[in-house]
Amino acid sequence: MNVTQLSAFVANKPGHLQRVLKVLADENINIITLTIAETSDFGILRMIVNDPDKGHKVLRENNITCSITDVLALEIDDTPGSLYNALDVFAQMNLNIEYMYAFTEKREGKAVMIFRFEDIEAAKNALVGKGYNIVRKIDIIGEK
């Protein structure tokens, strides 16, 4: 099962990121992890939140350009070389990672990485049989 990421377009100017966060705060949406990719004019805020559909809806209602995308959450050992090994699987299959970021919370000696692929299914198939644990949506955002 894929994890749903909420992304928003934010001008690279004081107060603009805060405006997006306020909308989410007012609607009681919790951000579990986030990353920002920035250019000189704008940034793309990418978030894993507890309710991505509601997050998407409220951002749209506030005229904030946003989208939801499937990303892959992968659990790896929190030890030297683990990320290297995981990436090796993708490299061998010639799968390009569009971007990736790490999960903030540590889970029993494991780390969780978020990956964005052009073809998420191909990436998942590549991991099958390699003993990797693909983290399900439910594990990340909790039961509802």
């Binding site: 377009f9 990719a37 250019t39 004019d41 704008f42 904030i64 350009t65 989208s67 971007y99």
Partner: protein, 432 residues
């Protein structure tokens, strides 16, 4: 046709009517407005010298600056107790310009709007929702009076409040919608974004009447496709009367000018010289019947051309092209002439982009710099920087190939481009 005799009058007969009315109008201005008398005396012109239409080229021009200098009532030709209404332009570049109407002027205004609506196939059987702003701006009240004159059911909703506009489409059985073309696209966006269950096909909407800002054929195609209507251009300017100076007909190619009320010429904007029919230049207006605010040879700054083409609709009235730009909006960037409408056409060619843009021109050292701000909507947004950069590059490449200039493309948030009175502010020139 609302006024068949006038709208199908043979060209020669129309010219006779125009000359007769011109003589009255120029004399009316000269005798009753000190500004005209002083200006004409200084230029050595007297209204009695007006013997043919060709003599009009000797009459001095009226400019927007003259109107500002005579703010507010200095150019009125009747006592204020004969004036029943005023309108004023938003004054984006200085003092507002004020125009007045007598009872008869209000009648003429309503008549030309009624003729326009009729040219779009609208009749007393229609329900017309007027979503132009009501107030000092001529759009709202202009369409309102025209719609009532035609005898249609008129819904004076004014601009904004999109959910309510959409509700009234359904509840009131609206068949005709009048607004700025950019607002029409806003409405289409709103439905797509917030009301996926709202089916525009389920309304009775069939005709859109759009004006008050320049718009392109590409925008017409998009509005027609998304709102499932026939979209027509209505043209006008408050200095002349308001909307209804000219209108499209069933042919959707060119706008017929109501020549019995407005005399039009095309001039070279640089030299002021009158150009022959068919050539492109600045359109100049002279009112033929207006009492309160006669405008004699008003320089509109709008760029177009005039022509007769035996229009299939049967009207013999002269046609003007959709206004392609304004001579004062024209930017000269590193020696290249750029009209905001060209920027708009480039954006419309790129899938998903909207005609919400702003051009910012600045001078860095001795070089002009052009920046085009484009609002990012959901159709062009991606969570990948790579894709966004490709979009900027694609827009930049298009500008370079169409306009021959290198523009910095800045992707910006929805709503970040300032809008005034429903019109977006297209150009900011910081060069001084």
């Amino acid at each position: 046709m609302y006024s068949r005799d006038i709208e199908t009058m043979p060209e020669k007969k129309m010219k006779e009517l125009q000359l007769e009315r011109l003589k009255w109008s120029v004399k009316h201005a000269y005798n009753n407005v000190p500004f005209y008398k002083k200006k004409y005396d200084e230029a050595g012109f007297h209204p009695d010298q007006l013997k043919s239409l060709d003599d009009m080229r000797r009459v001095p021009f009226l400019t927007k600056q003259d109107m500002r200098d005579n703010y507010p009532y200095g150019l009125f030709a009747v006592p204020l107790n004969k004036v029943v209404r005023v309108h004023a332009s938003s004054g984006t570049t200085g003092n507002a310009t004020v125009v007045g109407y007598t009872k008869n002027d209000v009648e003429v205004f309503a008549e030309v709007v009624a003729r326009s609506l009729s040219a779009y196939g609208v009749s007393e059987n229609d329900v017309i929702q007027v979503a132009y702003g009501y107030g000092l701006f001529t759009g709202g009240l202009g369409l309102h009076y025209g719609s009532e004159k035609l005898g249609a059911l008129t819904v004076p909703i004014s601009g904004g409040n999109t959910p309510r506009q959409l509700m009234l489409f359904k509840d009131f059985g609206t068949t005709v919608f009048c607004a700025t073309p950019s607002y029409a696209l806003n409405i289409a966006d709103y439905i797509e974004k917030n009301m996926p269950d709202y089916k525009i096909e389920d309304t009775k909407l069939r005709v859109g009447v759009f004006g008050a800002e320049p718009w392109t054929e590409a925008m017409r195609t998009e509005i027609e496709k998304r709102l499932k209507i026939d979209a027509y251009d209505i043209y006008g300017l408050s200095e002349v009367i308001g909307p209804g100076v000219s209108c499209e007909c069933s042919q959707k190619s060119g706008l017929h000018v109501f020549e019995d009320h407005f005399y039009v010429e095309i001039i070279n904007p640089e030299t002021g010289e009158v150009l022959p029919e068919g050539e492109k230049g600045e359109i100049v207006y002279t009112s033929l019947t207006k009492e309160a605010f006669p405008g004699i040879r008003y320089r509109s700054r709008d760029i177009t051309r005039l022509y007769h083409d035996n229009c299939k609709c049967g009207r013999t009235l002269v046609k003007m092209d959709k206004v392609s730009g304004r001579s004062d909006d024209m930017l000269i960037i590193r020696g290249v002439n750029v009209f905001p409408s060209q920027v708009e056409s480039v954006l419309m060619e790129i899938e998903g982009t909207e005609p919400h843009y702003q051009i910012i021109v600045d001078r860095k050292g001795s070089l002009d710099d052009i920046e085009v701000m484009v609002e990012v909507n959901e159709k062009i947004f991606s969570d990948e920087i790579k894709v966004m950069n490709e979009l900027s590059k694609k827009i930049n490449d298009k500008f370079r190939s169409v306009l021959g200039i290198n523009a910095k493309v800045t992707l910006s948030e929805p709503g970040s481009i300032p809008r005034s009175e429903g019109k977006a502010v297209r150009v900011v020139d910081k060069r001084k």
